[in-house]
């Protein structure tokens, strides 16, 4: 559920990047980090990685101020794409408000994309509160 803090007039939205291993979830987050100006964002938090693969997750918080003055905090998470980290994926997915599926654009990766999407459907069915 999206959190709304009436006292601070703030809304916190959690977005999760989901997709197969090495499809560019963390890269996308890094690019987003570079594009946003320093005032509008927090620091990119990159938890442990191994051989370029996320083990826990990455997190980039940034802000948008709505014309009404409502402060929207968007927290973008990535999940580990490797099949063996399914338990971690489920843990991160637990409180996601929205999910962005990051597919690998290479044609040869179509099977992996489909497998990851199936895994997403399975985990959502089971875990979404």
């Amino acid at each position: 559920m999206i959190k709304h803090d009436e006292i601070d007039n703030k809304m916190v939205l959690m977005l999760v990047y989901y997709g197969p291993s090495l499809s560019g979830k963390t890269t996308n987050l890094l690019k987003l980090h570079n594009l946003l100006n320093k005032e509008g964002r927090g620091d990119l938090i990159v938890l442990d990685t191994k051989d370029d693969c996320t083990i826990f997750f990455d997190l980039l918080p940034f802000f948008i101020i709505a014309p009404s003055g409502l402060k929207i905090k968007l927290k973008v998470y990535t999940v580990p794409g490797q099949v063996k980290h399914d338990a971690t994926r489920k843990a991160v997915l637990q409180r996601a408000d929205r999910v962005a599926f990051i597919a690998d654009s290479q044609l040869s990766e179509a099977t992996n994309n489909a497998g990851s999407f199936e895994n997403l459907e399975k985990n959502l069915d089971r875990e979404v509160v």
Binding site: M14, G42, I45, P61, T88, A91, Q94, R95
Partner: protein, 425 residues
């Protein structure tokens, strides 16, 4: 402080919003502030965004140079670091700020990692426990199975043996029944003309007697030539015609009686394997048993004790006449098992398998093992010659089997006949 407690109790989910005091602890921040004082600052403090002091070191002196840095977490200001002193304090405070910032970022990372790690551990643990439970259950099942295997095999073997014996018995009964029916049919035809001819012969005999008596009375009255009359009277006496005539009637009557008995036996034999498809009806077997006992009252020896344990039974669809004939034969057999001190117990039960059980037991001499497989054979009897034909139990057996039922016999401690009748849907 808060952060550590929260990790232990798992009160927050991944990525929940946190305050400054939840990220860093007293024993982490206080040495930093104290060292800043030692390095030359007059006071150092950390406040929340509203300016309330969270941690402070040194005297709270008004005025003087103040260096102030915003502390941010996930891009939001969660508090301020303020350091007082002379102009030189700026470099020092920059160092303290960097150290504090690094502490916050590191702590945040550690907390996020721990959260995910704990969640994953808990989930895996639950899954493992569940798998373990299933494995234990199936292990238990297999262990039980292997422990009782021998017993089960023995049980099944015994069942099969019994079934086999019963099958053999049934087959034997069927072939004996067929044989008996065949013989009965063959005897029935000649018996027909024997009976008919005997009756005709009886009338012929009467006519001959009348004619001869007429001749004799004519001779007596002298209405015929004396030579012929005397010869006739002489011959009558010599041939003992009075005795012949009176004996002939008896002879023929005895023949007719005998032939009738043969006919009766034959018709009983035919009844055994040729159960007529008489009309079916719904009966209460308990009522039927009561009626049979009334009917047999003259057969009950003096001082005999009949115990009825009749439990409620559903209506049973059958040929009522046949079924009562069957039970009558079995009960009669029990009544004849002993002349003094007889006790016959009749029990009825409706089982969970939707079967009716009728158990008839007596305290007679029982049945020796050698006879137990023969008691249903036709003409098998242990009664004195002339007292039993040996067809009663055969008929009963055939009637019960024709209703889809079974009869089990035990010959120890008196005889017990257990009749099982399945209730057809």
């Amino acid at each position: 402080m808060g952060g550590k407690d929260s990790i232990d109790n798992l009160e927050f989910v991944v990525g929940s919003e946190r305050k400054l005091e939840e990220i860093i602890r007293d024993d982490e921040v206080m040495p930093l502030l104290q060292d800043t004082l030692l390095a030359g600052a007059s006071a150092a403090m950390v406040t929340d965004p509203g300016g309330n002091v969270l941690w402070a070191s040194g005297p709270d002196i008004e005025g003087g140079h103040i260096a102030r840095y915003p502390l941010s977490l996930e891009g939001e200001i969660v508090g301020y670091l303020a350091i007082k002193g002379d102009g030189q304090v700026d470099h020092l405070s920059r160092m303290t700020y960097n150290a504090l910032n690094l502490l916050m970022q590191t702590n945040l990372k550690r907390m996020l990692t721990s959260e995910v790690h704990l969640l994953v551990l808990n989930q895996s643990n639950e899954e493992l426990l569940e798998i373990n439970k299933q494995l234990s259950a199936s292990e238990k099942k297999y262990r039980e199975l292997s422990e009782h295997l021998e017993e089960k095999v023995k049980e099944r073997t015994e069942e099969l043996k019994q079934l086999h014996t019963r099958l053999l018995q049934q087959e034997k009964m069927a072939s004996i029944g067929q044989l008996a029916a065949g013989v009965a049919h063959e005897i029935n035809n000649p018996m027909g003309f024997v009976m008919s001819n005997l009756n005709t012969l009886k009338t012929y005999m009467a006519r001959s007697k009348d004619l001869l008596k007429l001749c004799l009375s004519a001779a007596d009255s002298g209405k015929v030539l004396p030579e012929f009359g005397n010869v006739l009277k002489e011959q009558w006496k010599r041939l003992k015609m009075d005795v012949v005539f009176s004996d002939a009637d008896d002879l023929i009557n005895e023949c007719i009686d005998g032939a009738e008995r043969v006919k009766h036996i034959v018709s009983n034999l035919r009844g055994i394997s040729h159960i007529d498809e008489s009309a079916t009806g719904m009966i209460d077997i308990n009522e039927e048993l009561d009626m049979i006992i009334d009917l047999l009252s003259h057969e009950i020896p003096q001082g005999a004790h009949i115990v009825k344990k009749l439990n409620p039974l559903p209506k049973f669809t059958c040929s009522p006449g046949l079924i009562s004939q069957g039970f009558l034969n079995i009960i009669l057999n029990a009544l004849q098992s002993r002349s003094e001190g007889l006790e016959v117990t009749i029990t009825t039960v409706h089982t969970d398998n939707n079967e009716i059980i009728v158990r008839i037991s007596d305290n007679g001499p029982g049945i020796p093992d050698a006879n137990i497989n023969r008691i249903f054979e036709p003409f098998f009897t242990t009664k004195e010659v002339g007292r039993g034909m040996g067809l009663g139990l055969t008929t009963a057996y055939d009637i019960i089997v024709s209703h889809g039922g079974t009869i089990d016999v035990k010959g120890i401690n008196g005889a017990t006949f257990e009749v099982r009748l399945p209730i057809r849907k």
